[in-house]
Symmetry: D2
Subunit: 142 residues, 4 copies
Protein backbone atom coordinates (compact mmCIF):
# COMPACT_ATOMS: atom_id res chain seq x y z
CA UNK A 1 0.00 0.00 0.00
CA UNK A 2 1.18 3.47 -0.90
CA UNK A 3 0.86 5.60 2.20
CA UNK A 4 -1.81 8.26 1.70
CA UNK A 5 0.12 11.56 1.56
CA UNK A 6 -2.80 13.68 2.78
CA UNK A 7 -2.72 14.60 6.46
CA UNK A 8 -5.58 12.93 8.30
CA UNK A 9 -8.65 14.87 9.35
CA UNK A 10 -8.45 13.21 12.73
CA UNK A 11 -6.38 10.62 14.59
CA UNK A 12 -7.57 8.56 17.53
CA UNK A 13 -5.16 6.56 19.66
CA UNK A 14 -6.20 3.52 21.66
CA UNK A 15 -4.54 0.53 23.23
CA UNK A 16 -5.20 -3.04 22.09
CA UNK A 17 -6.88 -5.14 24.78
CA UNK A 18 -5.90 -8.70 25.58
CA UNK A 19 -9.40 -10.02 24.85
CA UNK A 20 -9.28 -8.51 21.36
CA UNK A 21 -6.39 -10.75 20.26
CA UNK A 22 -6.99 -14.26 19.01
CA UNK A 23 -4.88 -17.35 19.46
CA UNK A 24 -2.57 -16.25 16.67
CA UNK A 25 -1.69 -13.28 18.87
CA UNK A 26 -3.20 -10.62 16.63
CA UNK A 27 -6.39 -8.59 16.72
CA UNK A 28 -9.34 -10.57 15.35
CA UNK A 29 -10.50 -9.01 12.07
CA UNK A 30 -13.99 -7.97 13.22
CA UNK A 31 -12.66 -5.76 16.01
CA UNK A 32 -11.31 -3.14 13.63
CA UNK A 33 -14.88 -2.14 12.83
CA UNK A 34 -15.55 -1.71 16.53
CA UNK A 35 -12.37 0.38 16.80
CA UNK A 36 -13.57 2.54 13.92
CA UNK A 37 -16.80 3.18 15.80
CA UNK A 38 -14.80 4.39 18.80
CA UNK A 39 -12.78 6.70 16.56
CA UNK A 40 -15.98 8.18 15.11
CA UNK A 41 -17.33 8.95 18.59
CA UNK A 42 -14.08 10.71 19.41
CA UNK A 43 -14.04 12.62 16.10
CA UNK A 44 -17.56 13.85 16.79
CA UNK A 45 -16.61 14.83 20.34
CA UNK A 46 -13.45 16.66 19.30
CA UNK A 47 -14.69 18.45 16.22
CA UNK A 48 -18.49 18.42 16.01
CA UNK A 49 -19.86 18.98 19.50
CA UNK A 50 -20.50 15.33 20.22
CA UNK A 51 -22.60 12.57 18.74
CA UNK A 52 -25.53 13.07 21.16
CA UNK A 53 -25.79 16.75 20.17
CA UNK A 54 -26.08 15.81 16.49
CA UNK A 55 -28.87 13.35 17.23
CA UNK A 56 -30.64 15.94 19.39
CA UNK A 57 -30.39 18.36 16.45
CA UNK A 58 -32.15 15.88 14.13
CA UNK A 59 -29.41 13.95 12.38
CA UNK A 60 -27.91 10.52 12.78
CA UNK A 61 -25.88 8.27 10.49
CA UNK A 62 -26.01 4.63 9.53
CA UNK A 63 -23.05 2.55 8.37
CA UNK A 64 -23.98 1.49 4.83
CA UNK A 65 -20.75 -0.10 3.64
CA UNK A 66 -17.40 -1.13 5.08
CA UNK A 67 -14.36 -2.16 3.08
CA UNK A 68 -11.16 -3.16 4.85
CA UNK A 69 -7.78 -4.38 3.66
CA UNK A 70 -5.80 -6.37 6.22
CA UNK A 71 -2.07 -5.83 5.86
CA UNK A 72 -0.47 -6.70 9.19
CA UNK A 73 -1.62 -7.72 12.64
CA UNK A 74 -1.81 -5.39 15.62
CA UNK A 75 -0.90 -7.08 18.89
CA UNK A 76 -1.85 -7.02 22.54
CA UNK A 77 -0.92 -3.83 24.38
CA UNK A 78 0.22 -2.03 21.25
CA UNK A 79 -0.88 1.56 20.75
CA UNK A 80 -3.12 1.64 17.72
CA UNK A 81 -3.54 4.93 15.88
CA UNK A 82 -6.56 5.36 13.67
CA UNK A 83 -6.14 8.06 11.04
CA UNK A 84 -9.37 9.19 9.43
CA UNK A 85 -9.30 10.80 5.98
CA UNK A 86 -12.17 12.01 3.83
CA UNK A 87 -13.34 10.18 0.71
CA UNK A 88 -16.26 10.86 -1.59
CA UNK A 89 -18.85 13.31 -0.30
CA UNK A 90 -22.41 12.96 -1.65
CA UNK A 91 -25.70 14.58 -0.74
CA UNK A 92 -26.54 12.34 2.18
CA UNK A 93 -23.61 9.94 2.06
CA UNK A 94 -20.06 10.42 3.27
CA UNK A 95 -17.14 8.09 2.79
CA UNK A 96 -14.40 8.19 5.41
CA UNK A 97 -11.13 6.33 5.00
CA UNK A 98 -9.56 4.91 8.13
CA UNK A 99 -6.00 3.68 8.41
CA UNK A 100 -5.18 1.62 11.48
CA UNK A 101 -1.49 1.65 12.28
CA UNK A 102 1.00 0.97 15.05
CA UNK A 103 3.64 3.65 14.61
CA UNK A 104 4.57 3.45 10.92
CA UNK A 105 3.29 -0.09 10.48
CA UNK A 106 -0.03 0.00 8.65
CA UNK A 107 -2.22 -2.85 9.93
CA UNK A 108 -5.53 -2.21 8.20
CA UNK A 109 -6.87 0.43 5.86
CA UNK A 110 -10.13 0.91 4.07
CA UNK A 111 -13.25 2.96 3.59
CA UNK A 112 -16.57 3.29 5.38
CA UNK A 113 -19.67 4.79 3.79
CA UNK A 114 -22.10 6.57 6.12
CA UNK A 115 -25.60 7.66 5.18
CA UNK A 116 -27.12 10.47 7.17
CA UNK A 117 -30.69 9.97 8.31
CA UNK A 118 -33.34 11.60 10.40
CA UNK A 119 -33.01 9.66 13.68
CA UNK A 120 -34.89 6.40 13.17
CA UNK A 121 -36.03 7.48 9.74
CA UNK A 122 -35.17 8.26 6.16
CA UNK A 123 -32.06 9.72 4.61
CA UNK A 124 -31.37 13.43 4.82
CA UNK A 125 -28.58 15.74 3.66
CA UNK A 126 -25.30 15.77 5.50
CA UNK A 127 -25.62 18.30 8.35
CA UNK A 128 -24.02 21.65 7.56
CA UNK A 129 -21.39 21.50 10.28
CA UNK A 130 -20.30 18.04 9.18
CA UNK A 131 -20.09 19.20 5.56
CA UNK A 132 -18.12 22.28 6.59
CA UNK A 133 -15.66 20.05 8.45
CA UNK A 134 -15.07 17.46 5.76
CA UNK A 135 -15.22 19.41 2.48
CA UNK A 136 -11.80 21.05 2.84
CA UNK A 137 -10.36 17.55 3.31
CA UNK A 138 -12.02 15.92 0.32
CA UNK A 139 -9.74 14.19 -2.16
CA UNK A 140 -8.85 16.16 -5.30
CA UNK A 141 -11.33 15.61 -8.13
CA UNK A 142 -10.06 12.90 -10.48
Amino acid sequence: MEPDPRPPLFTHRMRIRYAECDQQGVVFNAHYLAFYDVAMVELWRARLGGYAAMVAAGADYMIAETHLHYVAGARFDEQLEIDVRVGRIGTSSLVLEPTFRVGDRVCVHGAVRHVFVVPGGRSRPIPDDVRALVEPHAPPAA
Copy 2:
Protein backbone atom coordinates in the same frame (compact mmCIF):
# COMPACT_ATOMS: atom_id res chain seq x y z
CA MET B 1 -14.83 -29.69 42.58
CA GLU B 2 -17.20 -32.44 43.58
CA PRO B 3 -19.52 -33.01 40.64
CA ASP B 4 -23.05 -31.98 41.55
CA PRO B 5 -25.02 -35.27 41.69
CA ARG B 6 -28.38 -33.66 40.87
CA PRO B 7 -29.48 -33.95 37.26
CA PRO B 8 -29.55 -30.54 35.60
CA LEU B 9 -32.82 -28.74 34.97
CA PHE B 10 -31.58 -27.92 31.48
CA THR B 11 -28.52 -28.37 29.31
CA HIS B 12 -27.56 -26.17 26.37
CA ARG B 13 -24.87 -27.21 23.91
CA MET B 14 -22.90 -24.72 21.85
CA ARG B 15 -19.65 -24.64 19.97
CA ILE B 16 -16.73 -22.39 20.96
CA ARG B 17 -15.95 -19.75 18.33
CA TYR B 18 -12.45 -18.84 17.24
CA ALA B 19 -12.89 -15.19 18.23
CA GLU B 20 -13.82 -16.23 21.77
CA CYS B 21 -10.38 -17.72 22.45
CA ASP B 22 -7.47 -15.59 23.55
CA GLN B 23 -3.81 -15.91 22.74
CA GLN B 24 -3.41 -18.63 25.37
CA GLY B 25 -5.79 -20.70 23.25
CA VAL B 26 -8.63 -20.79 25.77
CA VAL B 27 -11.93 -18.97 26.10
CA PHE B 28 -11.46 -15.51 27.62
CA ASN B 29 -13.06 -15.44 31.08
CA ALA B 30 -15.74 -12.83 30.33
CA HIS B 31 -17.31 -14.89 27.55
CA TYR B 32 -18.73 -17.49 29.94
CA LEU B 33 -21.23 -14.89 31.13
CA ALA B 34 -22.29 -14.30 27.53
CA PHE B 35 -22.63 -18.07 27.08
CA TYR B 36 -24.81 -18.22 30.19
CA ASP B 37 -27.09 -15.59 28.66
CA VAL B 38 -27.47 -17.76 25.55
CA ALA B 39 -28.32 -20.78 27.71
CA MET B 40 -31.00 -18.78 29.55
CA VAL B 41 -32.64 -17.76 26.28
CA GLU B 42 -32.74 -21.41 25.25
CA LEU B 43 -34.04 -22.55 28.65
CA TRP B 44 -36.87 -20.03 28.37
CA ARG B 45 -37.62 -21.13 24.80
CA ALA B 46 -37.61 -24.84 25.62
CA ARG B 47 -39.45 -24.81 28.93
CA LEU B 48 -41.22 -21.47 29.48
CA GLY B 49 -42.69 -20.35 26.17
CA GLY B 50 -39.89 -17.97 25.31
CA TYR B 51 -38.33 -14.88 26.84
CA ALA B 52 -40.40 -12.43 24.75
CA ALA B 53 -43.64 -14.03 25.97
CA MET B 54 -42.60 -13.54 29.59
CA VAL B 55 -41.85 -9.87 28.98
CA ALA B 56 -45.17 -9.45 27.15
CA ALA B 57 -46.87 -11.00 30.19
CA GLY B 58 -45.33 -8.41 32.51
CA ALA B 59 -42.16 -9.95 33.88
CA ASP B 60 -38.47 -9.60 33.14
CA TYR B 61 -35.34 -10.42 35.11
CA MET B 62 -32.13 -8.62 35.88
CA ILE B 63 -28.80 -10.25 36.62
CA ALA B 64 -27.98 -9.15 40.16
CA GLU B 65 -24.94 -11.26 40.94
CA THR B 66 -22.58 -13.62 39.14
CA HIS B 67 -20.04 -15.89 40.77
CA LEU B 68 -17.81 -18.10 38.65
CA HIS B 69 -15.02 -20.54 39.44
CA TYR B 70 -12.58 -21.16 36.59
CA VAL B 71 -11.25 -24.71 36.64
CA ALA B 72 -10.04 -25.50 33.12
CA GLY B 73 -10.03 -23.80 29.74
CA ALA B 74 -12.44 -24.59 26.93
CA ARG B 75 -10.85 -24.38 23.49
CA PHE B 76 -11.71 -23.37 19.95
CA ASP B 77 -14.23 -25.62 18.24
CA GLU B 78 -14.96 -27.66 21.34
CA GLN B 79 -18.58 -28.47 22.14
CA LEU B 80 -19.41 -26.71 25.37
CA GLU B 81 -22.31 -28.02 27.42
CA ILE B 82 -23.91 -25.72 29.94
CA ASP B 83 -25.82 -27.55 32.66
CA VAL B 84 -28.19 -25.36 34.63
CA ARG B 85 -29.23 -26.40 38.13
CA VAL B 86 -31.46 -24.61 40.62
CA GLY B 87 -30.12 -22.87 43.72
CA ARG B 88 -31.89 -20.78 46.34
CA ILE B 89 -35.40 -19.61 45.44
CA GLY B 90 -36.65 -16.43 47.11
CA THR B 91 -39.71 -14.26 46.60
CA SER B 92 -38.43 -12.28 43.65
CA SER B 93 -34.93 -13.70 43.36
CA LEU B 94 -33.78 -16.96 41.85
CA VAL B 95 -30.30 -18.43 41.89
CA LEU B 96 -29.34 -20.72 39.05
CA GLU B 97 -26.11 -22.70 39.04
CA PRO B 98 -24.42 -23.21 35.69
CA THR B 99 -21.67 -25.71 35.01
CA PHE B 100 -19.78 -25.25 31.76
CA ARG B 101 -18.13 -28.47 30.62
CA VAL B 102 -16.61 -30.16 27.58
CA GLY B 103 -17.66 -33.78 27.93
CA ASP B 104 -16.69 -34.71 31.49
CA ARG B 105 -14.15 -31.92 31.86
CA VAL B 106 -15.66 -29.13 33.99
CA CYS B 107 -14.32 -25.78 32.76
CA VAL B 108 -16.27 -23.27 34.83
CA HIS B 109 -19.01 -23.52 37.43
CA GLY B 110 -20.82 -21.00 39.54
CA ALA B 111 -24.03 -19.29 40.45
CA VAL B 112 -26.08 -16.44 39.02
CA ARG B 113 -28.71 -14.56 40.97
CA HIS B 114 -31.65 -13.17 38.99
CA VAL B 115 -34.17 -10.68 40.33
CA PHE B 116 -37.54 -10.59 38.64
CA VAL B 117 -38.91 -7.17 37.82
CA VAL B 118 -41.80 -5.51 36.09
CA PRO B 119 -40.25 -4.67 32.69
CA GLY B 120 -38.26 -1.48 33.19
CA GLY B 121 -39.43 -1.20 36.78
CA ARG B 122 -39.33 -2.54 40.28
CA SER B 123 -38.99 -6.06 41.62
CA ARG B 124 -41.94 -8.42 41.55
CA PRO B 125 -42.53 -12.04 42.57
CA ILE B 126 -41.15 -14.84 40.43
CA PRO B 127 -43.78 -15.62 37.76
CA ASP B 128 -45.88 -18.68 38.58
CA ASP B 129 -44.74 -20.75 35.61
CA VAL B 130 -41.09 -20.09 36.43
CA ARG B 131 -41.66 -21.06 40.05
CA ALA B 132 -43.51 -24.20 39.01
CA LEU B 133 -40.58 -25.16 36.80
CA VAL B 134 -37.77 -24.58 39.29
CA GLU B 135 -39.24 -25.59 42.67
CA PRO B 136 -39.10 -29.34 42.07
CA HIS B 137 -35.39 -28.90 41.27
CA ALA B 138 -34.48 -26.82 44.32
CA PRO B 139 -31.65 -28.12 46.47
CA PRO B 140 -32.69 -30.02 49.60
CA ALA B 141 -33.08 -27.73 52.62
CA ALA B 142 -29.89 -27.72 54.67
Copy 3:
Protein backbone atom coordinates in the same frame (compact mmCIF):
# COMPACT_ATOMS: atom_id res chain seq x y z
CA MET C 1 -29.86 -5.46 -4.17
CA GLU C 2 -30.73 -7.97 -6.87
CA PRO C 3 -30.81 -11.37 -5.20
CA ASP C 4 -27.97 -13.54 -6.49
CA PRO C 5 -29.67 -16.25 -8.55
CA ARG C 6 -26.93 -18.82 -8.07
CA PRO C 7 -27.58 -21.43 -5.39
CA PRO C 8 -25.16 -20.99 -2.50
CA LEU C 9 -22.22 -23.34 -2.04
CA PHE C 10 -23.07 -23.55 1.64
CA THR C 11 -25.53 -22.12 4.14
CA HIS C 12 -24.94 -21.83 7.87
CA ARG C 13 -27.78 -21.03 10.25
CA MET C 14 -27.22 -19.41 13.64
CA ARG C 15 -29.27 -17.51 16.18
CA ILE C 16 -28.58 -13.88 17.07
CA ARG C 17 -27.46 -13.46 20.68
CA TYR C 18 -28.73 -10.70 22.94
CA ALA C 19 -25.23 -9.33 23.57
CA GLU C 20 -24.68 -8.94 19.82
CA CYS C 21 -27.44 -6.32 19.50
CA ASP C 22 -26.79 -2.68 20.25
CA GLN C 23 -29.09 -0.11 21.79
CA GLN C 24 -30.84 0.41 18.46
CA GLY C 25 -31.94 -3.23 18.74
CA VAL C 26 -29.96 -4.51 15.78
CA VAL C 27 -26.74 -6.46 15.41
CA PHE C 28 -23.70 -4.19 15.72
CA ASN C 29 -21.92 -3.99 12.34
CA ALA C 30 -18.65 -5.61 13.41
CA HIS C 31 -20.32 -8.85 14.48
CA TYR C 32 -21.14 -9.90 10.92
CA LEU C 33 -17.43 -10.53 10.37
CA ALA C 34 -17.40 -12.77 13.43
CA PHE C 35 -20.47 -14.59 12.10
CA TYR C 36 -18.69 -15.09 8.79
CA ASP C 37 -15.81 -16.71 10.63
CA VAL C 38 -18.23 -19.14 12.26
CA ALA C 39 -19.75 -19.97 8.86
CA MET C 40 -16.29 -20.69 7.44
CA VAL C 41 -15.51 -23.12 10.25
CA GLU C 42 -18.76 -24.93 9.53
CA LEU C 43 -18.16 -24.95 5.77
CA TRP C 44 -14.76 -26.51 6.35
CA ARG C 45 -16.23 -29.07 8.75
CA ALA C 46 -19.09 -30.01 6.41
CA ARG C 47 -17.29 -30.10 3.11
CA LEU C 48 -13.52 -30.14 3.59
CA GLY C 49 -12.72 -32.41 6.53
CA GLY C 50 -12.37 -29.61 9.06
CA TYR C 51 -10.17 -26.58 9.49
CA ALA C 52 -7.68 -28.33 11.81
CA ALA C 53 -7.09 -31.04 9.22
CA MET C 54 -6.23 -28.44 6.58
CA VAL C 55 -3.72 -26.80 8.91
CA ALA C 56 -2.22 -30.20 9.77
CA ALA C 57 -1.85 -30.82 6.02
CA GLY C 58 0.16 -27.63 5.57
CA ALA C 59 -2.32 -24.96 4.57
CA ASP C 60 -4.04 -22.10 6.33
CA TYR C 61 -5.74 -18.93 5.14
CA MET C 62 -5.63 -15.29 6.11
CA ILE C 63 -8.42 -12.80 5.65
CA ALA C 64 -6.96 -10.18 3.30
CA GLU C 65 -10.00 -8.06 2.51
CA THR C 66 -13.59 -7.72 3.67
CA HIS C 67 -16.30 -5.72 1.96
CA LEU C 68 -19.78 -5.58 3.43
CA HIS C 69 -22.98 -3.76 2.43
CA TYR C 70 -25.45 -3.21 5.26
CA VAL C 71 -29.03 -3.32 4.03
CA ALA C 72 -31.21 -4.13 7.04
CA GLY C 73 -30.70 -4.98 10.69
CA ALA C 74 -30.92 -8.49 12.12
CA ARG C 75 -32.45 -8.60 15.60
CA PHE C 76 -32.12 -10.49 18.85
CA ASP C 77 -33.20 -14.11 18.68
CA GLU C 78 -33.71 -14.10 14.92
CA GLN C 79 -32.39 -17.03 12.92
CA LEU C 80 -29.66 -15.70 10.68
CA GLU C 81 -28.78 -17.67 7.57
CA ILE C 82 -25.42 -17.10 5.98
CA ASP C 83 -25.27 -18.14 2.33
CA VAL C 84 -21.77 -18.48 0.95
CA ARG C 85 -21.19 -18.18 -2.80
CA VAL C 86 -17.94 -18.32 -4.75
CA GLY C 87 -16.35 -15.25 -6.30
CA ARG C 88 -13.05 -14.82 -8.11
CA ILE C 89 -10.60 -17.72 -7.76
CA GLY C 90 -6.89 -16.91 -8.16
CA THR C 91 -3.73 -18.90 -7.59
CA SER C 92 -3.50 -18.42 -3.86
CA SER C 93 -6.47 -16.16 -3.29
CA LEU C 94 -10.14 -17.02 -3.09
CA VAL C 95 -13.05 -14.61 -2.85
CA LEU C 96 -16.19 -15.86 -1.13
CA GLU C 97 -19.42 -13.88 -1.14
CA PRO C 98 -21.56 -14.12 1.98
CA THR C 99 -25.17 -13.02 2.22
CA PHE C 100 -26.58 -12.70 5.72
CA ARG C 101 -30.37 -12.96 5.75
CA VAL C 102 -33.32 -13.62 8.02
CA GLY C 103 -35.72 -15.60 5.87
CA ASP C 104 -36.01 -13.59 2.67
CA ARG C 105 -34.85 -10.34 4.25
CA VAL C 106 -31.25 -9.68 3.22
CA CYS C 107 -29.43 -7.94 6.08
CA VAL C 108 -25.85 -7.77 4.86
CA HIS C 109 -24.02 -8.99 1.78
CA GLY C 110 -20.48 -8.68 0.59
CA ALA C 111 -17.24 -10.36 -0.31
CA VAL C 112 -14.26 -11.68 1.62
CA ARG C 113 -10.88 -12.34 0.05
CA HIS C 114 -8.81 -15.15 1.58
CA VAL C 115 -5.15 -15.79 0.84
CA PHE C 116 -3.86 -19.28 1.42
CA VAL C 117 -0.57 -19.57 3.25
CA VAL C 118 1.78 -22.13 4.68
CA PRO C 119 0.80 -22.02 8.38
CA GLY C 120 2.59 -19.04 9.88
CA GLY C 121 4.35 -18.34 6.59
CA ARG C 122 4.11 -17.21 3.02
CA SER C 123 1.40 -17.58 0.44
CA ARG C 124 0.85 -20.90 -1.31
CA PRO C 125 -1.58 -22.21 -3.92
CA ILE C 126 -5.13 -22.99 -2.92
CA PRO C 127 -5.18 -26.61 -1.67
CA ASP C 128 -6.47 -29.07 -4.27
CA ASP C 129 -9.54 -30.13 -2.31
CA VAL C 130 -10.58 -26.53 -1.75
CA ARG C 131 -10.13 -25.76 -5.44
CA ALA C 132 -12.10 -28.84 -6.41
CA LEU C 133 -14.93 -27.73 -4.15
CA VAL C 134 -15.18 -24.11 -5.28
CA GLU C 135 -14.38 -24.21 -9.01
CA PRO C 136 -17.73 -25.66 -10.10
CA HIS C 137 -19.39 -22.79 -8.22
CA ALA C 138 -17.32 -19.97 -9.69
CA PRO C 139 -19.22 -17.16 -11.37
CA PRO C 140 -19.45 -17.29 -15.16
CA ALA C 141 -16.56 -15.51 -16.89
CA ALA C 142 -17.53 -11.95 -17.75
Copy 4:
Protein backbone atom coordinates in the same frame (compact mmCIF):
# COMPACT_ATOMS: atom_id res chain seq x y z
CA MET D 1 -23.81 -1.14 49.29
CA GLU D 2 -21.76 0.64 51.90
CA PRO D 3 -18.99 2.46 50.07
CA ASP D 4 -15.64 0.94 50.95
CA PRO D 5 -13.87 3.63 53.01
CA ARG D 6 -10.37 2.49 52.12
CA PRO D 7 -8.66 4.47 49.36
CA PRO D 8 -8.16 2.31 46.28
CA LEU D 9 -4.75 0.90 45.43
CA PHE D 10 -5.33 1.97 41.83
CA THR D 11 -8.00 3.56 39.66
CA HIS D 12 -8.33 3.12 35.92
CA ARG D 13 -10.62 5.35 33.86
CA MET D 14 -12.09 4.28 30.53
CA ARG D 15 -14.97 5.31 28.33
CA ILE D 16 -17.90 3.00 27.57
CA ARG D 17 -18.10 2.02 23.90
CA TYR D 18 -21.32 1.92 21.92
CA ALA D 19 -20.90 -1.76 21.04
CA GLU D 20 -20.62 -2.64 24.74
CA CYS D 21 -24.19 -1.52 25.47
CA ASP D 22 -27.15 -3.80 24.86
CA GLN D 23 -30.63 -2.94 23.70
CA GLN D 24 -31.59 -1.84 27.20
CA GLY D 25 -28.96 0.89 26.83
CA VAL D 26 -26.62 -0.39 29.51
CA VAL D 27 -23.35 -2.29 29.46
CA PHE D 28 -23.92 -6.03 28.98
CA ASN D 29 -22.92 -7.85 32.18
CA ALA D 30 -20.05 -9.88 30.71
CA HIS D 31 -18.11 -6.80 29.62
CA TYR D 32 -17.24 -5.78 33.18
CA LEU D 33 -14.87 -8.75 33.35
CA ALA D 34 -13.21 -7.52 30.17
CA PHE D 35 -12.94 -4.04 31.69
CA TYR D 36 -11.34 -5.54 34.79
CA ASP D 37 -8.72 -7.18 32.58
CA VAL D 38 -7.91 -3.79 31.06
CA ALA D 39 -7.57 -2.26 34.54
CA MET D 40 -5.16 -5.02 35.58
CA VAL D 41 -2.94 -4.38 32.57
CA GLU D 42 -2.84 -0.70 33.50
CA LEU D 43 -2.18 -1.43 37.18
CA TRP D 44 0.75 -3.62 36.18
CA ARG D 45 2.06 -0.95 33.80
CA ALA D 46 1.75 1.88 36.34
CA ARG D 47 2.99 0.15 39.46
CA LEU D 48 4.80 -3.10 38.61
CA GLY D 49 6.87 -2.53 35.48
CA GLY D 50 4.35 -4.05 33.10
CA TYR D 51 2.70 -7.41 32.62
CA ALA D 52 5.19 -8.62 29.99
CA ALA D 53 8.09 -7.97 32.35
CA MET D 54 6.47 -10.13 35.04
CA VAL D 55 6.02 -12.98 32.59
CA ALA D 56 9.62 -12.61 31.39
CA ALA D 57 10.70 -12.83 35.03
CA GLY D 58 8.91 -16.16 35.47
CA ALA D 59 5.49 -15.33 36.87
CA ASP D 60 2.00 -15.11 35.44
CA TYR D 61 -1.46 -15.23 36.97
CA MET D 62 -4.68 -17.03 36.19
CA ILE D 63 -8.14 -15.80 37.07
CA ALA D 64 -9.51 -18.49 39.39
CA GLU D 65 -12.74 -16.88 40.58
CA THR D 66 -14.85 -13.84 39.80
CA HIS D 67 -17.73 -12.54 41.87
CA LEU D 68 -19.67 -9.48 40.76
CA HIS D 69 -22.67 -7.62 42.16
CA TYR D 70 -24.59 -5.57 39.61
CA VAL D 71 -26.09 -2.45 41.16
CA ALA D 72 -26.72 0.02 38.34
CA GLY D 73 -26.07 0.20 34.62
CA ALA D 74 -23.25 2.16 33.03
CA ARG D 75 -24.22 3.75 29.72
CA PHE D 76 -22.72 4.56 26.34
CA ASP D 77 -20.04 7.24 26.41
CA GLU D 78 -19.96 7.47 30.19
CA GLN D 79 -16.57 7.61 31.88
CA LEU D 80 -16.21 4.45 33.93
CA GLU D 81 -13.77 4.46 36.81
CA ILE D 82 -12.51 1.15 38.11
CA ASP D 83 -11.19 1.31 41.66
CA VAL D 84 -9.09 -1.66 42.68
CA ARG D 85 -8.72 -2.53 46.36
CA VAL D 86 -6.86 -5.40 47.99
CA GLY D 87 -8.63 -8.37 49.55
CA ARG D 88 -7.24 -11.56 51.07
CA ILE D 89 -3.59 -12.29 50.33
CA GLY D 90 -2.50 -15.93 50.40
CA THR D 91 0.70 -17.71 49.42
CA SER D 92 0.03 -17.93 45.72
CA SER D 93 -3.42 -16.39 45.57
CA LEU D 94 -4.45 -12.76 45.68
CA VAL D 95 -7.95 -11.35 45.84
CA LEU D 96 -8.52 -7.92 44.36
CA GLU D 97 -11.78 -6.05 44.79
CA PRO D 98 -12.88 -3.89 41.87
CA THR D 99 -15.59 -1.25 42.05
CA PHE D 100 -16.88 0.03 38.72
CA ARG D 101 -18.46 3.47 39.05
CA VAL D 102 -19.51 6.49 37.03
CA GLY D 103 -18.72 9.42 39.29
CA ASP D 104 -20.30 8.52 42.63
CA ARG D 105 -22.74 6.04 41.12
CA VAL D 106 -21.50 2.51 41.84
CA CYS D 107 -22.45 0.26 38.91
CA VAL D 108 -20.77 -3.03 39.79
CA HIS D 109 -18.53 -4.21 42.59
CA GLY D 110 -17.00 -7.53 43.46
CA ALA D 111 -13.92 -9.61 43.95
CA VAL D 112 -11.51 -11.47 41.67
CA ARG D 113 -9.18 -14.20 42.88
CA HIS D 114 -5.89 -14.56 41.01
CA VAL D 115 -3.52 -17.50 41.36
CA PHE D 116 0.10 -16.90 40.47
CA VAL D 117 1.75 -19.54 38.32
CA VAL D 118 4.96 -20.28 36.51
CA PRO D 119 4.04 -19.27 32.93
CA GLY D 120 2.14 -22.20 31.45
CA GLY D 121 2.67 -24.26 34.58
CA ARG D 122 1.93 -24.81 38.21
CA SER D 123 1.20 -22.37 41.02
CA ARG D 124 4.01 -20.42 42.63
CA PRO D 125 4.27 -17.80 45.38
CA ILE D 126 3.15 -14.25 44.68
CA PRO D 127 6.17 -12.39 43.23
CA ASP D 128 7.97 -10.22 45.79
CA ASP D 129 7.24 -6.92 44.10
CA VAL D 130 3.54 -7.71 43.84
CA ARG D 131 3.43 -8.69 47.50
CA ALA D 132 5.29 -5.53 48.48
CA LEU D 133 2.74 -3.46 46.58
CA VAL D 134 -0.42 -5.06 47.93
CA GLU D 135 0.41 -5.91 51.55
CA PRO D 136 0.19 -2.35 52.86
CA HIS D 137 -3.31 -2.18 51.32
CA ALA D 138 -4.63 -5.44 52.74
CA PRO D 139 -7.84 -5.21 54.75
CA PRO D 140 -7.45 -5.17 58.52
CA ALA D 141 -7.49 -8.64 60.05
CA ALA D 142 -10.97 -9.50 61.24
